[in-house]
């Protein structure tokens, strides 16, 4: 463990580096931070901290920058102490997020944009995973009997639709009857459960509709799965260009191309563990090489106490973690509250 003075020196370097993005020298610390010791003493402490892996020298006659290990230490301490102060602008944030919409997708989209604006970092969010939500209403309809529209209302209040084509014609009178049956059968189940149920043929048989049902159910199942595909929202991609770490155009391109690749990104974000709500992944802790110099902060948003999606920010490891943690907490609080109110 690090003794108190070493910690103070380390945090001072982290703080100073946060503002300058430059390597920090011993004299800077002794001048700007009142540690009660001379530059030479700090120099010795810095040397020790480097030996222990908390500081890095870009070259032999430069100052030092914090390592991933240092940020990890700092962040862990932040998360433990958990000195959360509430952001003042709660109400404004809520209004900004919700605007006029009641659709969960729009709320997440707005949140992503606002998060990027508030933080000046690239913000990302994963759409509400509606396969975890409970079905409230399902409705089939058609114009011509061949192109079937499936409309879904789920427990978060959002509406999805999907269009599919069938060779056998089924007209609205029958579609409405089927919808009624499906509503009875599927009410309050999650999409995952419904798909399972269809797969296991674990369903009701009503004589006169049984043939039609057997025919159309696989289409419905596929349709439901298409609807539940995870979407990702990205906002403020160009924010990365404001960081001196990304003045190099090739680095910037690598970063951006990685973010633009939705599939990989969905994977990365989905797999972040968010047991306690907030998760921070620092530099080398990230799997993809393109993210080895970045930190990712994500938190989940909930609906009836179940996590249904994530929202987060990405940027260089040199981050104002304290400030960002607070913003993220506020954001997820607000989103959750909006969802709660939306559901009455």
């Amino acid at each position: 463990m690090l003794d108190e003075r070493k910690l103070k020196v380390l945090y001072a370097i982290i703080d100073s580096h946060l503002n300058t993005a430059e390597p920090i020298g011993s004299r800077t610390i002794s001048k700007d931070y009142d540690l009660g010791v001379s530059a030479a003493t700090i120099r010795n402490e810095m040397s020790d901290l480097e030996d222990r892996g908390y500081l890095i020298k870009p070259h032999s006659s430069a100052g030092r920058i914090p390592s991933d290990k240092a940020y990890r230490l700092y962040v862990d301490q932040l998360l433990t102490n958990n000195e959360k102060k509430e952001l003042e602008r709660n109400q404004e944030i809520k209004e900004e997020i919700q605007q006029e919409t009641k659709q969960t997708e729009d709320i997440i989209k707005n949140s992503t944009r606002l998060l990027s604006q508030l933080t000046s970092y690239t913000a990302i969010a994963i759409s509400p995973q509606i396969n975890k939500l409970r079905l409230k209403h399902i409705q089939l309809m058609s114009m011509d009997g061949n192109n079937i529209i499936l409309v879904l209302l789920n427990s978060s209040g959002s509406v999805q639709n999907n269009l599919f084509y069938i060779d056998e014609k089924i007209y609205n009178d029958n579609l409405f009857l089927i919808s009624k049956i499906l509503n009875d059968e599927f009410n309050n189940l999650t999409i995952d459960e419904i798909v399972d149920k269809i797969k296991n043929k674990d369903i009701f048989k009503i004589e006169e509709l049984s043939t039609i049902l057997d025919y159309i159910l696989p289409f419905i199942s596929k349709s439901l799965q298409e609807i539940s595909e995870t979407k990702i929202y990205i906002d403020g991609l160009t924010k990365i260009l404001n960081f001196p770490e990304y003045r190099d155009i090739d680095k910037a391109r690598d970063f951006m191309e990685f973010i633009e690749d939705e599939k990989t990104l969905i994977n990365l974000i989905s797999n972040m563990e968010n047991e306690d709500g907030l998760t921070i992944s620092i530099g080398e802790e990230n799997e993809p090489i393109e993210m080895k110099h970045c930190s990712i902060i994500t938190t989940n948003y909930q609906f009836t106490d179940k996590s249904i999606g994530k929202i987060g920010i990405i940027g260089p490891t040199r981050m104002d973690y304290l400030k960002l943690i607070n913003i993220m907490d506020t954001m997820s609080d607000n989103i959750n509250e909006i969802f709660k109110i939306l559901m009455g």
Copy 2:
């Protein structure tokens, strides 16, 4: 007008500059292009071309680059001669665009991605303007009587939905009746016409439903307008970083931030005249300062011979216009054909 030799020199410079992105000298032209005259003669021609505004010298002892005026001349000649060769990969393109979907929005989204891949430029598209499309089916439904779902099927076969809240409860039995009336009244009208009709109260009065109708129609009108908001799709934003013209990070950021600002971009693209299908706006011809060094090529895609949206690319004025025109033509052809087939 330029005589033939001047034109040849100018086109040679355009061609050479296209590949190198460097200023072109007289010797390069005499070496690489068989014009049958010496470098000195070309030098004289170049001097004339500069006087006439077709060439620009970055500095006094450098070669020349084509001006916007030169590109304009070149492009106008291309568009007049119109030596279109069909791209071979038509079928592949169609499959790539359509994938499995029948939703017009998805088709445009896929097209944008493919266009960016094929061209290596940033691609943009404006969503099908469904307010210009004819209504095929409208359906209202609700779970609780307060949150009304409006589902819309239009003549392009795409489905939209919108959720709105009303204080007075209206239940499905009445909503279905209303839907039936609305379908009769609105069938084959465009959304614009429907909104007008509602505004002018130019509607049927069926005794028992008249109060409910008066109450709900304004909500429907607003809902329809929300549905018809223009959306924009962007793909390959980072492609700009591959051009030597945008090695400078501040230039790149200006470009990207402009593209990321959806409202301005929608405005810009919407206002491009596309009478003959394809439109090319070169450098200074673009209004926004951020686009003064870019060219924008857009074309519209059609549904039943009516233009309902646009797709295009954006990049530095130094473009392979010939190749890009062909790709763009092929793309719009394919999109139009898919739409045609979708409608049977």
